[in-house]
Subunit: 107 residues, 2 copies
DNA sequence: CAGCATCCAAAACGATACTG
DNA sequence: CAGTATCGTTTTGGATGCTG
């Protein structure tokens, strides 16, 4: 297990890192939204078509653990939670930008 | 189903296209290999750690259907199959490049 | 060599209902 | 509002064995 991981690290490299940190397809879509600025949970849910609260939570937690999003809780009633990008997360913008360009060109 | 798809298309957009065409995490790794030039099935399998022939085939077929890779069969014995990128596939290079840069910076 | 077929386990998801 | 809990389904992938 550990040696397997080591080997992987030796062979690669950077793409795996990016993929692991981003996590899933949903995360790309979340990123796209958050580049537009801080968003609330429900805003994300509305903006990202077809995502369930569960999937959204999973993706956000994963991104939080990997330090690309920040979760800010306002202890109000009703609850209010805002998500935004860290610098590390902002830096993913170029990737998404290239994906957009590609999609626009070939989609 | 169809109307759902239509709605999705209307709302977006380009990232989804790119994600759908690429398909899975494996595809990113395949892309990375193919940017280095034409590769045989077994070469891909060796280069991409942890991929099973099934997963590799799935990813390649998907990419083939979406016209980003070309599958060339040499009717020899033993069989020989080479995979390479189309122009559309080559154009994904920028995305992978940005992912590499990000991974190198933050990994 | 390059897969396909089969079986099976694990993960991801959607839907729904419920809570602080 | 922002989730969590649960259920059942779908997807995904590894393992294995077989074929042209």
């Amino acid at each position: 297990m550990e040696n397997v991981k080591e080997e992987t690290l030796v062979i690669d490299c950077s793409i795996e890192k990016a993929l692991d940190v981003i996590g899933s397809k949903w995360s790309f879509l979340i990123l796209r939204e958050l580049f537009g600025g801080t968003k609330r949970f429900s805003e994300l849910q509305r903006a990202i078509k077809g995502v369930s609260p569960k999937a959204l939570t999973n993706a956000l937690r994963h991104m939080e653990e990997n330090e690309i999003v920040i979760r800010k809780v306002y202890p109000t009633v009703p609850a209010k939670v805002e998500y935004s990008l860290t610098d590390k997360g902002q830096d993913l913008h170029k990737i998404i930008k290239e994906m957009k360009l590609w999609g626009a060109k070939w989609g």
